[in-house]
């Protein structure tokens, strides 16, 4: 099934609709927010949902709905940043391991094995501890840890192509490795990498939310999805329903990315 055909599936359409809303909010979330996401009003602290505050208020009286809208951009950009780093560090070395000889292959495989032993969150905490507590640093750390995933997937997709007869035919025409990669390999590797990137973006959304939940990356009072979740969890006894809203938002966005990835997966959409 082609990617275009897959997009006609109901699940893919629903996923794309959700992602379109998330993208809109990432771009314009701050401007469409009904209230200032940073405006504190102690008199309105920990209020339940109302017409003025649809998702209620947090412990400082800030509008949760506005904070979630305004935090979308930071959260999504951070997730995409880590996936971008993972793609850059994973895809090209994955292809290089197939085409640049046994020495390069051996070195890259051992490097990837080493990186794969590192735990996500602990590594991110260590990196921000060394490089400073910023969201970019944390996301680069997460991206580094995503790299083995993209490396393995790219390598697996390209492995069968190295000895494909049409690749050998191109070699016999005197085509350069770069041309062979561009014309015969890239188009066959991209769908698999795209599926992995969609799934990884879901994972990155969770990771950035987890990190901001731990106070790593984004500093208060800047809003993020994970930050809102963290603040709501602190008042679980007063408002047990409150963490459900940011958690559901994260879950819906991750589910949409996974559904889209599943729909465009080569030969596996159903």
């Amino acid at each position: 099934m082609s990617t275009l055909t897959a997009v006609r599936l109901p699940s893919a359409r629903l996923a794309l609709s959700v992602l379109a809303v998330v993208t809109f909010l990432a771009v314009a979330g701050g401007t469409v927010a009904p209230h200032d996401p940073l405006l504190q009003d102690p008199d309105l602290a920990l209020r339940g949902p109302s017409l003025i505050h649809p998702f209620g208020t947090d412990y400082l009286g800030r509008d949760v709905f506005s904070r979630l809208l305004a935090g979308t951009g930071t959260t999504v950009v951070a997730a995409l940043e880590s996936v971008g780093v993972g793609l850059a560090l994973g895809v090209l070395p994955g292809l290089a391991s197939l085409w640049l000889g046994r020495t390069v292959e051996w070195v890259l495989l051992r490097a990837v094995d080493a990186v794969m032993t590192l735990p996500f969150i602990v590594f991110a905490i260590a990196v921000t501890g060394i490089l400073g507590n910023g969201l970019s640093q944390a996301m680069v750390a997460i991206g580094v840890l995503f790299a083995p995933l993209f490396f393995r997937v790219t390598r697996a997709a390209g492995l069968s192509l190295t000895r494909a007869h049409y690749v050998e035919a191109a070699e016999l025409f005197g085509a350069s490795r770069w041309r062979i990669l561009r014309t015969h390999v890239w188009g066959k590797v991209v769908p698999t990498v795209a599926v992995t990137a969609a799934q990884a973006t879901g994972g990155a959304l969770l990771a950035v939310s987890s990190l901001t939940f731990l106070g790593i990356g984004v500093q208060p009072p800047a809003p993020t999805w994970g930050g809102v979740l963290a603040s709501e969890l602190g008042f679980l006894s007063q408002q047990p329903w409150a963490p459900v809203i940011p958690a559901a938002l994260i879950m819906v966005a991750v589910a949409a990315l996974n559904a889209l990835a599943d729909a465009i997966r080569p030969g596996g959409a159903a």
């Binding site: 007869h165 049409y166 035919a169 191109a170 066959k188």
Partner: protein
Amino acid sequence: MSTLLAVDGLDVTFDRHRVLADLSLHVQAGEILGIIGETGSGKTTLARAVVGLSPVRAGRITFEGTDLTALRGKARRAWRRAGQVQYVFQDPLRALDPQHTVARIVAEGLVVAGTLDRAAIDARVRAALAQVGLDQSLAARLPGQISGGQRQRVLLARAVALQPRLLLCDEPVSALDASNRNHVLRLLADLRDRSGVTVVVISHDLSSLAGIADRVAVLYGGRLVEQGPIGRVLSEPRHPYTALLTASAPSVRREHPIPARALRPAPDHRPVAAFGPDACSYASRCPFATQACVTAPSTAGSEWSVACHHADAWRSRLAVGAMSTRRTA
């Protein structure tokens, strides 16, 4: 005729397994040479070694004086871009990029060579498609959208678009029906007659070579066992294995037919010696093998050569009973 391609003392080894052993073969300019042998005899490896796809352990492959085995890096790429030798793969479905159109596939070698502009490449592609008898309307199709016979001709068109001087065709008709098979074989003969292209056709089917080849080279176990003018080799084979091949091909007419049964070892046949890696490659299966066959025979003769210690004697040892049983049957 002058020698276009010379293979001398070629050894190819995969993981310590010797696939080709001390193989020497010359291809004359303008001829159609058939290479025949059973599966695993080294036919494809020989062709792939010529174009640089199989690792050569020893020996030389020269094309009009250019040592192809010595080419590396940029020099090899430049040689390949000149397109003088083209290899036509055995399996058209695997040799054609499923995401590229027929026109793009046929144009690839010309685009890589970079010597022609777009219009000239398009003209060459149209001419190549016409040359192999493919309709121009197929140019926009993908390999999965055309038939097996058409795919085989696309492979040929991709090769002839570069106007090569030597065409190596690996089992070009093995997957085709009789009609398409004859068409492709006629195409190869036409190419030689009209364009003067030297053609090497690899096949496991003697009958498909009988109509078009000028000469035939017979491989067995990675060694050349016999080569010569196809008419003479088929009618009076000098190697027992060639004789078995011709006897096993019902469509090949022979003047003095020997039944295949007479050329196979009897069920209770015991080899006269333990034949090691340096023995005649056919010795363990040969009913005429003797102690002399523990060493590989040298290839004797130039126009028609045979590698057998008993090339002149094995016919006299044919089992009379086996001959008569078949004739009366």
